[in-house]
């Protein structure tokens, strides 16, 4: 950033996961020289969440939180050595006009610029009944609690057949559990994969031993002091020792209430991630328009998004604090994520969930392990791609389908 003046002043980053860490690193890269404080609700330094539904959940023996954290902790750039991490310090409220944060323990902290990177928490089923035996999976502590509950013969009901639900089901199966997945839609991961690929992935799981009950909701949880059974909306009862609730997420925005922001689904931002005079947002909690697709602001819960949004949000905030206008170039990140389930690796580029139509391009859905490629379309435009077990060397080409329109955007905004 040679030639562009940086900013000083104190920046508070609220949220110490991937987006918060990357925001701190990118603030330094963008030329911010003032102090940075990162507040994290969890007691752990920033760590990578995807392994929590897979390797960490499946790993044998070790239940020591610190050793497990060390396996998934992010390495930090040397540029953030002078950043203060306040962990186990949840932020309860922010006053943007006064530049004050109130922590959950009542203490206050000031800021000149603010990054909202508080992410999501799991949505829970609104069902009464016993709590013991009910789990959600988002944090390392959630993972540790679930891990301790799973073993050979454990009867597991997974509510929700999205990506997290399907990954956890596959891992629980590997641990020797009897696994039933309950999903209101007709197929798992239907909104992203579409019916044909969703059906194929379901059959692949079923062949391995996971049972699916689709088109059904969980209606009640039975048991006196802990979960004994889960009742579905057609009256069917599934005996269960463990209920895993994988029914989506809720953005953590309550702490920003009272500042006149649009918090209806995450933090509403412009295309440069600006949400207020000195507020930017990054990660799962940021709702922003992506000109790759259209001008409608959306939150994107893909692993690539915290890194991309943090970079742009940091540049925007640094410019705002230095009294400069943010970079007007369109921000059009290519969303991508992967999901490992059994022997399958699903890789997604773009936004398949926006599509009206799925097209099978390569391979046989009955033999997913050998490689399948599907593309997703809306109003005649290619908006997403899903590859199953394709060679990694193909990924550049698959992603490039979405970076080409970006060049067009940059030239003709």
């Amino acid at each position: 950033m040679t030639g562009t003046p940086g900013s000083d002043g104190h920046i508070a980053v609220v949220g110490a996961s991937l987006a918060g860490l990357r925001a701190a690193e990118q603030l330094r890269a963008a030329g911010h020289t003032g102090p940075i404080t990162v507040f994290g609700a969890e007691p752990y330094a920033p760590y990578n969440r995807p392994p929590l539904s897979k390797e960490v959940l499946a790993g044998p023996g070790d239940h020591d939180a610190e050793r497990l954290h060390a396996q998934v902790a992010f390495r930090m750039r040397s540029s953030v050595a002078d950043v203060t991490f306040r962990l186990g310090a949840a932020v309860a409220a922010a006053d943007l006009a006064r530049g004050r944060l109130t922590l959950a323990d009542g203490r206050e902290a000031g800021f000149d610029g603010l990054v909202a990177a508080t992410g999501l928490r799991p949505r829970r089923l609104p069902l009464p009944g016993p709590q013991a035996g009910r789990h959600a999976l988002r944090t390392l502590d959630d993972c540790l609690a679930l891990r301790a509950a799973l073993g050979p013969g454990t009867r597991v009901v997974v509510a929700g057949a999205g990506f997290v639900g399907c990954e956890v089901a596959a891992t629980a199966l590997r641990l020797g559990c009897q696994v039933t997945v309950v999903e209101p839609a007709a197929e798992p991961m239907l909104a992203v994969l579409g019916p044909e690929l969703g059906r194929a992935v379901r059959r692949h799981h079923e062949a391995a031993g996971v049972r699916f009950v689709t088109g059904r909701l969980t209606a009640a949880v039975h048991g006196r002091d802990r979960v004994r059974a889960v009742e579905l909306d057609d009256g069917t009862t599934l005996e269960a020792d463990v209920l895993i609730e994988a029914v989506g997420s809720v953005p953590n925005t309550e702490w920003l209430a009272g500042n006149g922001l649009d918090l209806s689904d995450g933090v509403l931002c412009d295309n440069a991630l600006r949400a207020g005079e000195r507020l930017v947002a990054a990660g799962d909690v940021a709702r922003f328009p992506n000109p790759l697709f259209d001008d409608r602001p959306r939150r994107v819960e893909h692993w690539s998004i915290p890194g991309d949004t943090a970079k742009r949000a940091a540049a925007t905030l640094t410019a705002l604090l230095a009294g400069r206008a943010p970079d007007p170039a369109p921000f059009a990140p290519v969303p991508s994520f992967w999901s490992d389930q059994l022997d399958l690796r699903l890789q997604s580029f773009g936004s398949p969930a926006l599509a009206e139509e799925a097209r099978l391009e390569e391979g046989d859905p009955a033999r997913l392990g050998e490689g399948v490629l599907a593309t997703y379309h809306r109003e005649g435009r290619h908006v997403g791609t899903v590859a199953v077990n394709l060679p990694p060397a193909r990924q550049r080409e698959l992603r490039a389908a979405f970076t080409r329109p970006l060049l067009t955007l940059t030239r003709n905004p």
């Binding site: 750039r77 890194g307 991508s336 060679p391 990694p392 060397a393 990924q395 550049r396």
Partner: protein, 62 residues
């Protein structure tokens, strides 16, 4: 600059080869091959590659 990939961690996601194609490449067998001592002019893209590695297997030594 020295680049070290923890091959015990690497799961051949190939994201590094998208971020820094001059330094990382997925070969025909789908395995990673990489330049362990790229020039300093590649620093930004190598940092990007380390950031986007889903299993955080890439270490940059200055």
């Amino acid at each position: 600059m020295k680049v070290i990939v923890d091959m015990a961690k690497c799961q051949d996601h190939g994201q590094c080869a998208i971020a820094a194609p001059e330094v990382f490449e997925m070969n025909e067998e789908g395995r990673l091959v990489y330049d362990g001592e790229p020039g300093e002019e590649r620093r930004l893209e190598v940092e990007e590659a380390a950031d986007v590695c889903p299993v955080q297997a890439i270490l940059i030594k200055d």
